[in-house]
């Protein structure tokens, strides 16, 4: 159809203008955008004003991408892991019911086992043990019917309590949820803008912090479990002790009682400060009521002994208890630098991680490199556009000019769509834009060459143009679909920067079909209508 109705023209131009307007905010700095938003009169509805700018990936604005993984082995088998918790639970059940077992409680690969030979005793204890197996409830599915512990009883009285797969997954899931909360508090304390913290897969957390000056510090703050415990230093000859490394005398260990007096969870506040006497950086803390009570009681009973402050299984310091500390507040010293004292108080305020996290991937781009990449990307985009625009005009003349307008609109629409979708533009994404500049004109080339062929085959101009668009259309759809398939797969398997490339490529394919087919057809139709040409301009 070489005739475009007025409504069709209005619709096409309207769509393009809106698309291009969406790209406009990205041309300005955040301050300028803010000023613009304040300057618009209040009777204009907010949704009518495009304010969203393109989101730049970390590789362009600089920043850190850290992928952390819950240490599942530690969660299960660690000192305070699920297996040991289960053993403690079983021990408590036995103690509460005054039952004894021959051979004690053995720890197995993923659970515990115990033997109760006496049938009467077995019948009395078995129901109590079964209470340890709890149903797992799920926010989404409600009661799933699955239980956290599987209990098997053999005829000769061997009880095997095993953590179920579902129970374990549930714990990992909850650990990730809790860890995200803790990490968010920690990262917020660093005062960075717009950190992104999200779950990734079953047992991972992705932390993205743009524009950070000290990525090393971020990693230290993220990676620490920050499990604080107050425990007594063991008297010589004491049993039930842990040998823990000492921070004050590196390479040496200290025997510390297993019993924990107060934990970090009982802290209500922690602030960096300086010791009155020595001027050394310290962390001042306050306990909640329960913590204050227990701390007061223990310190009153143990005046003269050493109190160990244990952080992540390392003895930070072990001061002597000079007098009972009943005020519910205290101070941690440990040869800190000012920043260490600062960070420790951040960690204590944010709380301990529910499980050990390991950094499995880190990608940090300095702000200088990001800026350089943007500059280089802009440069390449301009040069590519100039190359292609000149080449198209040299080859197709007026029709090349039409194609060039379509090309510029195409690039503008990509930016507009990126803005409205708030998709992240990465360096490979910029490469994608440059590449689509080269391939976007392909649709126009297909159409124009077809028109030329039809003219050579003896058709009139109008019917040649008509046939050119119609016949090339199937090819355009086929060739763009194959490109789109590859891009969609790339989107789903890729991560970060590569995904940015896929997004741009998919958007590019969409906009090129719109601009190359609809927009150029409209321009050619209008040209034909007004110029009434006798021959093709190319």
């Amino acid at each position: 159809m070489l005739r475009f109705s007025t409504s069709k023209i209005v619709a096409t131009i309207g769509f393009i203008v809106i698309g291009l307007l969406l790209a406009v905010p990205s041309l300005f700095t955040p301050q300028q955008r803010q000023g613009f938003v304040q300057s618009i009169p209040s009777w204009v509805p907010a949704w009518m004003v495009p304010t969203r700018a393109i989101v730049l990936g970390l590789d362009l604005q600089g920043g850190s991408h850290v992928l952390l993984e819950v240490d599942v082995a530690d969660l299960v088998r660690g000192r305070t892991g699920l297996v040991n918790q289960l053993r403690d639970d079983v021990r408590r059940v036995l103690r509460d019911n005054r039952a004894s077992v021959e051979g004690g409680i053995q720890v197995t690969q993923r659970g515990v086992q115990l033997r109760i030979s006496d049938p009467n005793e077995r019948a009395r204890i078995a129901p109590k043990l079964r209470e340890l197996s709890q149903p797992i409830s799920n926010v989404i599915l409600g009661q799933t019917g699955a239980r956290n512990v599987d209990i098997a009883e053999s005829p000769d009285g061997l009880f095997q309590l095993t953590l179920t797969e579902q129970g374990l997954n549930d714990r990992v899931r909850r650990a990730v949820d809790q860890a995200i909360e803790v990490l968010r508090r920690r990262v917020d304390a660093l005062g960075t803008t717009e950190p992104n913290i999200q779950r990734q897969g079953a047992d991972r957390i992705l932390v993205q912090v743009p524009g950070l000056q000290d990525p090393q510090r971020l990693k230290e703050i993220l990676g620490q479990t920050a499990k604080l415990e107050f425990r007594m230093v063991a008297e010589p000859g004491a049993t039930d002790v842990d040998l823990l490394p000492s921070k004050e005398t590196p390479g040496q260990t200290q025997a510390i009682e297993r019993r924990v007096i107060v934990e970090g969870g009982d802290l209500t506040d922690a602030q960096p400060g300086f010791d009155n006497r020595t001027g050394e950086p310290v962390v001042n803390f306050k306990f909640n009521i329960r913590g204050a009570q227990r701390f007061g009681q223990t310190t009153s009973e143990n005046v003269g002994r050493l109190l160990a402050i244990v952080l992540d299984n390392q003895v930070i310091s072990a001061p002597r208890i000079l007098s009972p500390i009943t005020g519910g507040s205290g101070q941690i010293s440990g040869r800190f630098t000012v920043q260490q004292a600062n960070d420790l108080s951040v960690l204590l305020r944010a709380g301990a991680l529910p499980a050990k996290l390991t950094i499995v991937e880190e990608r940090t781009v300095g702000p200088g490199l990001g800026k350089d990449s943007i500059e280089a990307g802009k440069h390449a985009t301009y040069v590519a556009t100039v190359f292609v625009v000149i080449f198209m005009f040299a080859t197709y003349g007026l029709f090349g000019f039409f194609a060039n307008i379509a090309l510029l609109v195409h690039v503008g629409l990509i930016f507009g769509l990126l803005s409205i979708l708030q998709a992240t533009l990465t360096l490979p994404g910029i490469a994608g834009i440059v590449l689509t500049i080269g391939t976007a004109v392909d649709s126009n080339v297909l159409i124009y060459e077809r028109i030329r062929e039809e003219v050579h085959a003896g058709r009139s101009i109008v019917s040649a143009i008509q046939a050119g668009f119609d016949r090339a259309f199937a090819t355009i759809i086929d060739s763009n679909s194959t490109m789109a398939i590859a891009a969609v797969i790339l989107f789903f398997m890729g991560s970060g920067p590569v995904r940015g490339f896929a997004v741009v490529f998919i958007l590019g394919i969409l906009t090129t079909v719109i601009t190359a087919v609809t927009l150029t057809r409209m321009m050619i139709a209008l040209w034909y209508h007004y110029a009434r040409p006798k021959a093709l301009p190319f």
Binding site: G223, E361, L435, L446, A474, T482, A486, P497
Partner: protein
Amino acid sequence: MRLLRLWPDDTRFSFMRFRRVSFPFSAAMSLLTIALFLTVGLNFGIDFKGGTLIELQARSGKADVHAVRTTANAFHFGEAEVQEFGNQGGLSLRFPLQSGGEAAQSAVVQKARDAFEREYEFRRVETVGPRVSGELVQSGTIGVILSVLAVLLYLWFRFERELAMGAIVGTLHDIVLTIGFFVVTQIEFNMTSIAAILTIVGYSLNETVVVFDRTRELLRRYKAMPAEELLDLSINSTMSRTVMTATTAFLSLLALVLFGGSAIEGFALVMLFGVVVCTYSAIFISSPVLIYIGAIGRAEAPARDQRVPQPAE
């Protein structure tokens, strides 16, 4: 105004004759690639190999490769690869994967920061642990295989099975030669390279599909034309478009190579190579394959004729 024409109109060039040259040539190149792939191998980046990559920029503007290498090797984190990189004063520093699991990798960065922070700006730090790199290898491989299968499926539905076969032979040829390009140039092979390969898959099919679309159309019009002549006609009539598109793609990628910066240069170079190879294979590999598998010869059967979709008139 006299306009540019890269390819003359109405050529009658016999492309199919070249299959006696192009097939042995491509087969030899593919075999050579496989041999090089097995002996020399790809220069895997840390995405797939794990380890640590650090890009430094000398604050003074002049980097001392030798001093950095000596210091880095004194860390005893394995053999440190130090290279000049990018602009004046740029260095890239690579450490192999450390034994001792995920946590051990972080120590490398800490040590490097302590040693070099004063004289060099840390432009980029990337650490990939063994588990993540393993997963990236897996997802990269799956991605490439999946995209080839998905596209095969699409072609099978849109065209006939034989045409799809021809397109896939061409695409596999392009993937193999692109990997050969990676091996020969030793451009780092990482996640972005997978993106480049998938884009080349898309471009390769794009080129083939344009020719085959024409083949399908001509097949309907000239039922009695011999296969070789028909394919030659398809290629000749789409040739001016092929040259045009290859040129615009080439020009934009050239801009990317020249001005896109060192971080994207490898990607752009590979794509540039890809455009050339894809254009070659669409003409000299995918189309002649149709003769060998007899896709066109049987096209005279009337039953097949009706399955060809009619373009809108």
